[in-house]
């Protein structure tokens, strides 16, 4: 029984995987960034499909709006937009592919052999309200501490980036 | 008698050496410190014999407990029996002689004496420890000073030798460590030798642990074929270093083989005794034959040490009371003798600047005192009655002979054969250095021993003679202790 939802799912899935795959194989760096963008959008789509709208939104905002843009900027900064990427040695490719395949196979075998525990919990709606309430809660099942931690992390990352990227005078050594 | 004196005296000396300002101070402080230690050792001897005479029959005297790591049941447990007393005495003798012969060290004098005294500290601590952990601690303390002594003040391929020595000895202690931990866990979390000796350690565990411990300590005492650090180490070390190395360090191993491996694991000892005997008989003969071909005086003494120390191990392997007593006597005797031998070699080398036997000759003419000492020590080495070597070797032979099956008989005879080979190489060495025509006219200018060298030699010769002429006191010291050990092992 093929429903629309199913078709959408498969479309999103194939978009994600194809773009992801192309993103790591194309030899044009700019295209790689664009493929990555679409792959991420595909994932956002899947979040939508799963009815996790908040996450989907964050995904689009942070990834598509933030990280990919950052990456594209840095591509421009390193002035390599037009060039083709250097080829990897075939030996490395084969080994990597082999290792990756083994890892994938192993994971999938374990996943499919595993019978997941069927839960009977009542689902907690993933509304923004619920999310926000939990985020600010300092008690049981609250996420205030991680929130603080991540803020410190972002602060530190910011400081780090500033120091590194704004190096005063590039002395020629 | 507070045994902590034996640790405190060297420790204080070492600290004082570190704090002293100039060379002269360093030397005199070290000498004073070693005299004090000698005095303490003698006080210990008299206190010990006094206690025994007063009828104290406890296995260990002057026991002390101080908790160190309570949660691991590691304690400072000190105590002495006759064996420890004898070894402590030996250490103090060698130390004072070592301090004296190094009187003219110019390079980094302070460090040199500091390390020397640290080495002695390790030895004292080792001999009086009754807790395996502490024992191991002191054993390891004595490794690195040796390394530095050889590496910094040595000669020849000193770095190579120092490295080899340190690594082989550490390899040995690694095995000891494993054995020790094995004991600790099988016997219910205790490192205490006295407590462990009361425990019944399962036979199959003994079969595993005994070789670890015995081989580990065996490396220290040049168990064949793990002896190769001996020739290199001895030959590269400075005089006092060689004296300590052969005189004391090798005894640490022998003591450990007996007190730890054999005493605590009697079943293991019985199981492996034949292998020990074979190895030590090989070491005795093979060491002697290898000595025969050496041309460097230090190599001669080094290989002969391998051969002589073999008697200690042989005695232990024989597992009879007399043989063990003999083994212990051999340790004491060899300690004094070999220290003296190295001292003499050092004196000769300081003057002739060679250690090659064939480059010397007729030294008796120019340095009668030194050559006389050389004669004494040589004769001691080949087991002349009246000197300590004879007493020890004969006791080993007598003890070994009590095992009356063919295997032990043949091993004993093989070991006894070394007395001939020993005579050959000792006479060859003495004959070529002291006797014969004077090879080098330049030697006529050489001076005989200075006061410090004479004093050092006299102290050690006194020790050798004290054992050689009247062995009774040493026998009385060692035999009851050996008896305790044999009681535990069972057998003759």
């Amino acid at each position: 029984m093929i429903t629309g939802s199913t078709i959408i799912f498969y479309l999103l899935a194939s978009l994600t995987l194809t773009c992801g795959f192309l993103s790591v194989t194309t030899r044009q760096i700019f295209r790689a960034a664009i493929y990555l963008l679409f792959s991420l959008i595909g994932i956002a789509g899947l979040y939508f499909w799963l009815q996790y709208e908040f996450i989907a939104a964050v995904q689009v905002v942070v990834y598509v709006g933030g990280i990919v843009v950052l990456i594209i900027f840095s591509i421009f900064l390193t002035q390599q937009a037009g060039e083709k990427l250097a080829k990897q040695k075939p030996g490395r490719k084969i080994f990597s592919a082999l290792a990756v395949f083994c890892g994938f196979a192993l994971t999938m075998i374990q996943v499919y052999q595993h019978t997941f525990y069927e839960t009977s919990e009542t689902p907690l709606p993933t509304t923004v309200f619920n999310i926000g309430k939990k985020m600010m809660n300092v008690n049981e099942e609250g996420y205030a501490l991680p929130f603080e931690v991540i803020s410190m992390l972002l602060l530190a990352a910011m400081i780090g980036c500033i120091v590194i990227a704004l190096r005063s005078k590039p002395e020629t050594k | 008698m507070n045994l902590l004196l034996l640790i405190g005296a060297p420790l204080l000396t070492a600290v004082a050496v570190l704090l002293s300002r100039n060379r002269e101070q360093v030397k005199w402080i070290s000498l004073a410190g070693s005299v004090v230690q000698l005095a303490v050792a003698f006080v210990l001897l008299f206190a010990y014999t006094g206690e025994r005479a007063a009828g104290n029959t406890a296995q260990m005297l002057f026991e002390q407990h101080h908790v160190l790591f309570a949660s691991l049941n590691i304690n400072f447990h000190f105590g002495v029996d006759g064996i420890s007393v004898a070894m402590v005495l030996l250490t103090s003798f060698v130390l004072i002689a070592g301090v004296l012969v190094s009187w003219n060290i110019e390079k980094m004098t302070k460090e040199f004496y500091f390390l020397l005294i640290l080495l002695a500290l390790g030895a004292y601590g080792f001999f009086i420890s009754l807790d395996l952990f502490i024992l191991f601690f002191f054993l390891e303390i004595s490794v690195i000073p040796k390394y530095l002594l050889i590496g910094i003040w040595g000669s020849g391929k000193k770095e190579y030798s120092a490295n080899k020595l340190a690594l082989m000895l550490m390899g040995g202690s690694a095995l000891i460590l494993v054995g020790m931990l094995g004991l600790y866990f099988t016997a219910g979390h205790s490192f205490d030798i006295m407590a462990l000796s009361q425990k019944n350690i399962p036979t199959n565990v003994q079969y595993i642990i005994f070789p670890l411990l015995f081989v580990g300590f065996g490396v220290f005492t040049a168990l064949f074929p793990l002896h190769t650090w001996v020739p290199d180490g001895h030959s590269s070390a400075p005089t006092a270093g060689s004296m300590f190395l052969a005189g004391i360090s090798m005894k640490l191993g022998g003591y450990g083989c007996l007190r730890v491996a054999t005493y605590l694991l009697p079943e293991g000892a019985k199981e492996y005794a034949q292998i020990i005997i074979v190895l030590s008989a090989i070491a005795i003969l093979y060491g002697a034959f290898a000595t025969m071909m050496q041309k460097d005086l230090k190599y001669i003494n080094a290989y002969s040490s391998v051969s002589h120390v073999g008697f200690s191990l042989l005695g232990i392997g024989m597992l009879t009371q007399t043989a063990i007593t003999g083994a212990l006597m051999q340790m004491v005797s060899h300690g004094l003798m070999t220290a003296l031998f190295f001292a003499v070699i050092g004196m000769i080398y300081d003057r002739t600047h060679t250690r090659m036997v064939n480059e010397m000759g007729g030294l008796m003419k120019v340095m009668p005192f030194i050559t006389t000492v050389l004669f004494i020590v040589g004769l001691c080495s080949l087991g002349l009655p009246g000197l300590s070597g004879f007493v020890a070797e004969m006791t080993v032979f007598m003890g070994s002979w009590q095992r009356d099956d063919l295997f032990h008989r043949i091993a004993t005879i093989a070991a006894a054969m070394s007395i001939v080979v020993t005579a050959v190489y000792i006479l060859r060495a003495i004959g070529n250095t002291a006797m014969g025509p004077l090879k080098n006219a330049g030697y006529l200018q050489l001076k005989d021993a200075a006061w410090n060298e004479k004093l050092a030699a006299v102290i050690l010769v006194a020790g050798i003679l004290a054992i050689g002429i009247a062995p009774g006191w040493l026998n009385d010291l060692l035999r009851p202790a050996a008896e305790e050990i044999m009681n535990k092992i069972g057998g003759k």
């Binding site: 993103s23 991420l40 942070v62 990597s96 993933t126 980036c161 | -």
Partner: protein, 104 residues
Amino acid sequence: MMEPGLYHLLFISAALFFIGVYGFLTRRNLITMLMSIELILNSVNLNFIAFNKYLWPGKMDGLFFTLFIIAIAAAEAAVAIAIIINLYRSHQSIDVENAEELKY
């Protein structure tokens, strides 16, 4: 075709994960390696969400995990890009094969 469910999502996520790994292992450009890392993190996010949705909807552990991972990914990417740019300044290259001065 089957009704899409947990296993499908897990397959996608695992596939994406290993695609990312493959990219990380074979890409010679540092920035593309960084992109592969993003793929890896996204696959993990998908996993969390899928588990949260299908197995443990009672709490929002998976969801929050995803949320924080996204934040971390941003921070990590920022620092990584800063470093890469710095490296580019001194090496004049962002080929990973050229950054192998430190070895053996």
